[in-house]
């Protein structure tokens, strides 16, 4: 398997000296083209930091991140963002409140020198199931699900190969979550995209990803396939705990 994106012995440290916090402690994984890879873990496990490190938004203190076998230069160059884009968790925080949707979607096009911007913006809105009626609205005029669609449109408008998804549905209601997950599924099938999806929700990751890594305290404790997860073939206690917890509360008090 030739990996499209590979992470090797990656460490991320925030702060210096005595205050240093090692958020990610030497993790490794590889994602093939067209694959969807999931990272699950609880808050503070470092799962979002991994995505941010790939994007150049977190201070990498060691290890290697490679795209198509070539190490990614730091700081990231513009062409990196043509190939890798990120969708953030909170659609209420990740869209500029005083920019129209049109401006939000046009900005990456302008930065990367794309032509025919108007047509691309219209097409991008169409792709995520929003009509052109949304083009000149402001984020506050949109619901949470619609905003997340805009955030996905913004990531896809540069036609990247890889989408980094940081808890893309955890701020949304269950019914809206289903719509957004279906949208992501369809876009991946249509465009042959590669996903790295981070979530605290094991069920979401199991639905979206063929393979997943379980993180705890900045380390990958287990990497397994969706089928292994479904077959309850997890080997680590922590993974089993997460599996049990995702089934809901039990009266016998077993947690």
């Amino acid at each position: 398997m030739s990996a499209l994106l590979s992470v090797d012995d990656l460490s991320v440290t925030f702060g210096h000296g005595a205050d240093a916090v090692q958020a990610v402690r030497g993790i490794a994984f590889a994602v093939a083209e067209g694959e969807s890879f999931g990272i699950v873990g609880e808050s503070g496990s470092g799962k979002s930091t991994v995505l941010r490190a790939i994007c150049g938004l977190a201070p990498v203190s060691g290890g290697r991140i490679a795209l198509d076998g070539a190490a990614i230069p730091a700081p990231r160059r513009a062409d990196f963002y043509r190939r890798v884009q990120m969708v953030f968790q909170d659609p209420y925080a990740s869209l500029h409140p005083r920019h129209t949707i049109d401006r939000v979607l046009s900005e990456p096009l302008a930065i990367h020198g794309f032509g025919a911007r108007g047509a691309r913006v219209e097409a991008a809105l169409e792709d995520v199931g929003l009509g052109h009626g949304f083009r000149f609205r402001y984020p506050h005029q949109l619901s949470g699900g619609q905003r997340q669609r805009v955030a996905i449109a913004r990531a896809l408008i540069l036609e990247p190969k890889i989408l980094l998804l940081d808890e893309p549905t955890s701020a949304l209601d269950a019914s809206i979550q289903a719509e957004v997950l279906n949208l992501l599924d369809r876009l991946r099938a249509e465009r042959g995209l590669t996903y790295v999806l981070v979530s605290h929700d094991l069920a979401v990751v199991a639905h979206m990803c063929e393979r997943l890594a379980v993180m705890q305290n900045g380390r990958v404790v287990e990497e397994l396939t969706r089928d292994a997860l479904r077959g309850h073939a997890a080997e680590q206690d922590y993974t089993r705990t997460l599996l049990r917890a995702s089934e809901g509360f039990r009266k016998d008090g077993a947690t």
Binding site: A174, A178, L202, H207, R230, G248
Partner: protein, 276 residues
């Protein structure tokens, strides 16, 4: 079973430029010493229902009901004095996020003592009670947490501290508004375990408000499903699989499952009739 809370035709309305908007439209239920779940999506009026029961509707909001009785006391138009006697002592509310609901410049201990002190309780007794409550919510080192400020605690610890604070007055009714939504799954279950023990051991009535239908169904005895300010279905939690209302079924089906493949996920087709 004697009901400690009776609600009949509860309505909450807020003024707007287009006239009053009803966010709760005729909710009725009776609560005994049991766990009742209220489930719905954002904007369904579930939190507004909980707040109205405690008289915490935001300024401007208008609450009406044919009957709103707590243990025989009529809460409609209750005086501030009656509310002071009830809130924190006989009925309390646990809020969603400890980060925003605890006082950031007071230690946890002082906040619990403040909640638990009433006439005649000495400072020393109140402190002992507070430490006891912290232990009851399974905080391992109550002494340290007692002297800690909210920012020094993790989310799970903060939520436990808030539950301790709400329970120190030994209420008969606890309204928990998304008490575990901000917590990790494993911590979530521990907090639910604590609430479960309290309902069983003390015979407390619990209203558990949540958006998570599956979680509620494993935890509560009975579930009210709300849509657009109305209760569309009331069902015993054990019978949830046999829910008849399309909204309840839709909510259940649209969740991804670990052990089953559904692609694409069924989405909710909303029917204008549900809101009628």
């Amino acid at each position: 079973m004697s009901a400690i809370l009776e609600v009949e035709n509860l309505r909450v309305a807020y003024p707007s430029r287009q006239g009053p908007v009803e966010v709760v439209r005729g909710v009725s239920f009776a609560l005994g010493r049991e766990r009742l779940g209220i489930v719905g999506e954002s904007g369904s009026g579930k939190s507004q229902t909980g707040r109205a029961i405690l008289g915490l509707t935001a300024a401007g909001g208008r609450v009406t009901a044919d009957r709103l009785h707590f243990d025989g006391i009529d809460l409609r138009g209750a005086s501030p004095r009656i509310w002071r006697q009830l809130r924190g002592r006989r009925m309390s509310m646990v809020m969603q996020d400890p980060k925003f609901s605890l006082n950031p410049v007071m230690t946890i201990g002082r906040q619990i003592v403040e909640a638990g002190r009433r006439g005649g309780v000495s400072r020393r007794d109140a402190k002992a009670r507070a430490l006891e409550m912290l232990e009851a919510v399974q905080i391992r080192d109550p002494g340290r947490v007692f002297d800690a400020y909210p920012h020094e605690l993790s989310g799970g610890m903060g939520q436990r501290a808030m539950i301790a604070m709400m329970l120190v007055g030994r209420p008969d009714l606890l309204i928990a508004d998304e008490p575990t939504s901000a917590l990790d799954v494993t911590v979530q279950l521990e907090v639910l375990g604590i609430l479960d023990d309290l309902v069983r051991d003390r015979g407390m009535g619990l209203v558990f408000i949540s958006h998570d239908l599956r979680l509620v169904s494993t935890f509560c005895d009975r579930v009210l499903v709300m849509y657009a300010g109305r209760v569309v279905e009331e069902i015993a939690a054990a019978d949830l699989d046999r829910a008849t209302h399309p909204y309840t079924r839709g909510l259940l089906n649209c969740l991804p499952r670990i052990d089953a493949e559904a692609r694409p996920l069924p989405t909710l087709e909303r029917d204008a009739d549900w809101a009628r």
